[in-house]
Amino acid sequence: MHCCSFSRLLHDRKLTLLAALVLLLGIASLVLLREGRDQAARTIPIGEDRIVSWEQLPDQLPEMNGEMCQWMPASASPASLASLTFAAALQQTPTVGPRAVAPPHPSAQARESVASRKPVREVTDPYYGFAGIAVDPIRDEVIIAEENVSNLVIYDRLTNTPPTARLSEPKRVIGGDESFLEYACSVYVDPATGDIFGVNNDTMNWLPVFGRDARGNVVPDRKLRTPHTTFGIVADEEQQELLLTIQDDHAVIVFKKDAKDQDSPVRILQGEATLMADPHGIALDTKRNEIFVANWGTNNERPPLSEGGGGDARHERKDFPVGRNRAFSGSGRIAPPSITVYAKNAQGDTAPLRVIQGPKTQMDWPTSLTVHPERGEIFVANDTGDSVIVFAVTANGDAAPIRVIKGPKTMVDNPTGITIDLENNELWVANFGSHAATVFPVDASGDVAPKRVIRSAPTGTPSPMLSNAHTVDLDTKRDEILVAN
């Protein structure tokens, strides 16, 4: 065929195609506009179903030369274009269109074949993901709550993984289905006995307590029923009390330290005046008798504690904080992160003594806290800030940190646990993002290398950052898997 004739034919075909498409899209736009006017949003059926099949182009397309312009009809509404995008995004192979009836049940052989099939890919972290941390200077151990597969891992306090070493093995590990550990986020060690208190953040509403020699998949010596979403833990050794933060309830709940089973708390700090909002870490200043609570910033309203507690619906407990099941609809609030300070024996709906909050604070998911009473300093594991920020215990308002530990030399990477060894004047940081626990002098500042490192994985091993993985979805535009943690 002559080139000009071909071009004319092609042009004519283009026009025909354009006319057909304009007609189709015009109809579609009218339908969609009609739907837009009808705020009852009733579906306007287009035939039987809304997405129809389309023909796959042959693998070998005939070569088409000539200028091709992207056609954009003036009448095409964003909605109709979006629908086309959606169809493309679905990436469906050609079919005869959505079926109107259920397909037949497969054979038993086919079912068995699918049921026993192994995954073709598995994204998982084979190494411990360090989350919460406690140090036992008396027994020279460091105890780390790891969130990857929910263990407590115990290392020698002076372990220092050489740069050339693959990793350091713990002295012992506690975990398994007998241990009542799930999503282990925080840990406390009793200085007198060496007992280890593990905190489960989600799905497991028990706080297990293990003897110092426990190892493996063991039953805890005792366990205490706690409200859902317990996160932070600190003990007041003078009063023999255990103080816990509850995310769901925006509260601090206090038990006797030896409480077990369904024992009642001795007091609760909860209510509007407390300004607690998604509390995480908690620390005790034994010199000034104050407690510090790190808040991520979101909360909601519910009846006052004075009207009675009433735990969450999973385990009705009138002696627990007012649960989420009693929250008022639409009452959510968003505030900047904060550290709220109270007298250590505060209870009920008590306002904080001080509030550290504002842009100068550099707080970015402040997750764990610890206090050095003699230095009069609060240390904050600033998760997404990849930093440790330090404040004076007397700080109030929009205060800037007095020191910041941050930078590539520090290996501080998504820190979620922090503690101080007062005997040896060392600051310990658990870094969820780098499989590392890092040890610094308490006065460390800036981009400084840690004095010791415990690594659970080879240097540079990526962390999938999975922790209590929930929903998964597929970003079809970027061919990425999205996971909510």
Binding site: A82, Q91, E122, L466
Partner: protein, 252 residues
């Protein structure tokens, strides 16, 4: 195609995101190229750009007294009709529906009342159906159902599968197959699975396929996604703390 100890290609995290720990749900909207996340402390629905990365603020936030949101821990998207579906939690046996493009303190445009605590919601925008999980059942409603509507069908998992609970799900718009995470018993036994049913099923019906179990690998199944292009089902498991991809063309 991530595998093993893969580093995330991007992370949406940090103070500006308004997230808390353990976001229980999220959904990608392929039409609008957006991600929606329910925030169960702030009683909010946060919508982000599809390519969001880092410590970024949401594009839009549905939040306030008119929304009636209460502990929203789940959300599903109807990308064709541009709607968000939010199941209630615990004593709140409702499904609230919002325009996906809404912002601020807006009332739900529909409220579906169901006869049990809703687990999660799946949308079939092709057949105009809403599937609500919860307990050992999948309740199937018209997409536009409102008030105390009668389900078009109720799929009940046979007792032979044990003490089952249905959770997160996706629906294949091509053939109306439902892929739903089914928990069985505790969190340490490999008893869970992803069950596959049809939206046309009704009554006590065994799954057409079970993926990842029971008795194979899944211990505490959570999220389910479907990859239509590769005919794969992608699953998250809390106990394994893993993302697993099963290639199951038979189930597509």
């Amino acid at each position: 195609m991530a595998n093993g100890a893969a580093q995330p290609t991007r992370e949406i995290a940090g103070q500006n995101t308004l997230f808390t720990r353990t976001m229980h749900d999220m959904a990608y909207n392929p039409v609008a190229d957006e991600i929606v996340v329910p925030q169960f402390f702030a009683f909010a629905l946060l919508t982000f750009r599809g390519d969001a990365n880092g410590n970024v603020a949401p594009l839009r936030t549905i939040m306030g007294p008119s929304t009636q949101l209460n502990n929203p821990h789940a959300v599903s998207i109807d990308p064709i009709h541009n709607e968000y579906f939010v199941p209630g939690r615990e004593e709140d046996w409702r499904v609230l529906v919002y325009p996906a493009k809404a912002n601020g303190d807006i009332a739900p445009i529909r409220i579906l009342e169901v006869d049990a605590e809703p687990g999660r919601v799946g949308i079939d925008p092709v057949r105009n159906l809403v599937v609500v999980s919860g307990g050992n059942r999948l309740r199937i409603y018209d997409r536009m159902a409102t008030g105390k509507a009668t389900p078009r069908g109720v799929i009940t998992i046979p007792p032979s599968f044990g003490d089952t609970g249905t959770g997160l799900m996706r629906i294949n718009p091509d053939n109306g197959m439902i892929y739903v995470g089914v928990g069985v018993g505790g969190r340490h036994e490999a008893a869970d699975f992803v069950g596959v049913w049809s939206v046309y099923d009704n009554g006590v019906v065994p799954p057409r396929f079970t993926i990842g179990g029971p008795g194979t690998i899944l211990k505490d199944v959570r999220g389910v996604a479907i990859d239509l292009k590769n005919k794969s089902v992608i699953v998250t498991d809390k106990t394994l703390n893993a993302i697993l991809t099963f290639n199951v063309p038979e189930a597509f």
